[in-house]
């Protein structure tokens, strides 16, 4: 009997690996370890619809409990992997030793902690897990005012949700515009206007110096300029750090995450990595390698890892040339309030932005170019532009600036016709 494929981490990538392995007719055993008590669940609602009670916990599991036995996946919840023995090809969880044939590191990332005094007070939250979201939801019911640190996707989603519940919300970011690392300036401006209009207070280009409290509970934040702001709750959304400690301790090559090649393979040929923790080469990036934190990346990398594990397991891929490489167009989304922001491609050092549609009409897109090449498209309430952008970028088609800027021009006509 062959040893199982073992998955470390119970998130999006891990579940997709199970799905894709079974779809490719891989019939060997699969074992999944998760340090969390909850079976794999959808994270996107945690910062929006779940906080607002628009969906309940029953809607969160990615798959029903019956999925795991139905797919012959042994799911070990509440069971953290403590170390990996690459030479013996075993993972250790406490005293249990689990041999593997292939291993997937799908450990994700952990929220970056705010390095200020008072960050340990009760009422200071980060948002990554279902438990985090449960705690935020419970606390939100009891407070009037909250401060959000970080005007990224998570921070702004939480801010919009809290504001819609009537809370006083103040968002701080040291950058001079919201989502500065992710979207075009015009998109930042539109979202700033939208949040201001809904009553969120934005403190851009500003930092807090510390968080103050009483009896262990948050009561206020101290701004860098000396102002004191009442807040019974602080939500910190200042990015994540890849969870690569286990991989590093095992001796896998790590550098800002677990380093993988284009086949999602780590420095050990029997170990793959996918999702937030994987530092990978990406044909759509202007840099040699990067990490992406998205559903798309976790899912598509898991598909690649599954294809390669299945090929190797069947003995059909002795050569790298027969392995599948990761080349999916990156895409992201963020729902803030009633508005849908969708992003396709990676915008590095754009030197030209072209707007399609009118920002005053609340549905428009920004096309990012570098030296005439289309890099990325950010769309506000324009799902068609977004889906089309994914196809254009995938095909390497760059509409001329005049074409992109002309809403009457049919960009779909530029796509190569389906064979």
């Amino acid at each position: 009997m062959t040893d199982p494929v073992v998955i470390v981490g119970g998130g999006q990538a891990g579940v997709q690996l199970c799905l894709s392995l079974r779809k490719s007719k891989f019939d060997g055993p699969i074992v999944m370890y998760s340090a969390e008590a909850d079976a794999p669940y959808h994270r996107p609602p945690l910062s929006k619809s779940f906080l607002l009670d628009k969906i309940g916990e029953d809607k969160l599991p990615m798959r029903p409990e019956s999925f795991y036995p139905a797919k012959s996946v042994a799911l070990h919840l509440n069971q953290a992997v403590t170390s990996i023995d690459l030479d013996a090809r075993q993972v250790l969880s406490g005293n249990d030793r689990q041999p593997y044939s292939w291993l997937l590191m799908a450990t994700g990332a952990a929220p970056r902690q705010l390095p200020v005094d008072g960050a340990e007070l009760s009422g200071v939250h980060c948002l990554r897990s279902l438990d985090d979201s449960r705690a935020i939801k419970a606390r939100l019911n009891e407070v009037d005012s909250l401060v959000v640190i970080g005007a990224g996707f998570i921070g702004l989603e939480v801010a919009a949700a809290a504001r819609s519940l009537g809370k006083n919300v103040t968002v701080f970011d040291t950058a001079d515009r919201v989502m500065a690392r992710a979207v075009a300036p015009a998109i930042s401006q539109w979202y700033q206007d939208m949040h201001l209009q809904s009553g969120v207070s934005l403190r851009l280009g500003e930092a807090i110096s510390s968080i103050g409290g009483n009896n262990g509970q948050v009561t206020h934040v101290n701004c860098a300029d000396g102002e004191v702001l009442d807040a019974q709750m602080v939500v910190v959304g200042i990015g994540v750090i890849p969870d690569a400690g286990l991989a590093e301790a095992a001796g896998l090559h790590c550098d800002n995450g677990v380093v993988v090649d284009e086949f999602c393979r780590t420095s050990d040929p029997f170990v793959f990595a996918a999702g937030d923790c994987a530092n990978h080469p990406n044909p759509f990036a202007a840099v040699d390698r990067l990490r992406l934190e998205s559903i798309q990346n976790a899912t598509d990398q898991a598909r690649v890892a599954a294809a390669n594990i299945a090929a190797l397991a069947s003995g059909g891929a002795a050569e790298s040339s027969s392995l599948t490489s990761y080349k999916a167009v990156p895409w992201f989304w963020s729902d803030q309030g009633e508005h849908s922001l969708q992003m396709a491609g990676l915008s590095f050092d754009a030197d030209e932005y072209v707007m399609r549609g009118e920002s005053t009409a609340n549905s428009f897109s920004m096309y990012h170019y570098r030296s005439g090449k289309l890099l990325a498209v950010d769309s506000v309430n324009m799902p068609r532009d977004h889906m089309l952008a994914r196809k254009l970028i995938e095909a390497g088609v760059s509409p001329g600036a005049e074409q992109a800027g002309d809403s009457a021009f049919d960009l779909k006509a530029l796509l190569p016709s389906k064979a």
Partner: protein, 107 residues
């Protein structure tokens, strides 16, 4: 609890007891039907819960919002007149006996 039958592209039938008020996508996932992927979890972001609902049944469905309409244009398997995104359709009692065909590819 209307009975709904999902049919894979290869003709395999999956009859299920559906709960009213739950989407056709969630019903498929709850019954471990692999022909629906629903990568985005029902946010109308990915078009990987594409299905075909033929003939008279389509009259029992809610009208299509523009978002769904636009996403369908980018589904992995070419759109037909009967195409819908299953995350956008909630099960109702009058769907008793409905047949939902699934495409060979969602991604």
């Amino acid at each position: 609890m209307p009975k709904i039958t999902y049919v894979d592209a290869d003709g395999t039938e999956h009859p299920v007891d559906a709960k009213t008020g739950v989407s056709l996508m969630e019903t498929a996932i709850a019954n471990n039907i692999d022909g629906i992927e629903a990568e985005c979890g029902g946010s109308c972001m990915c078009a990987t819960c594409h299905c075909f609902i033929e003939g008279d049944w389509s009259a029992k469905l809610p009208a299509m919002e523009s978002e769904e309409d636009e996403m369908l244009g980018f589904a992995a398997e070419e759109r037909r007149d009967s195409s819908r995104l299953s995350c956008q359709i909630k099960v109702t009692d009058d769907m008793e006996g409905m047949v939902v065909h699934l495409p060979a590819e969602q991604n």
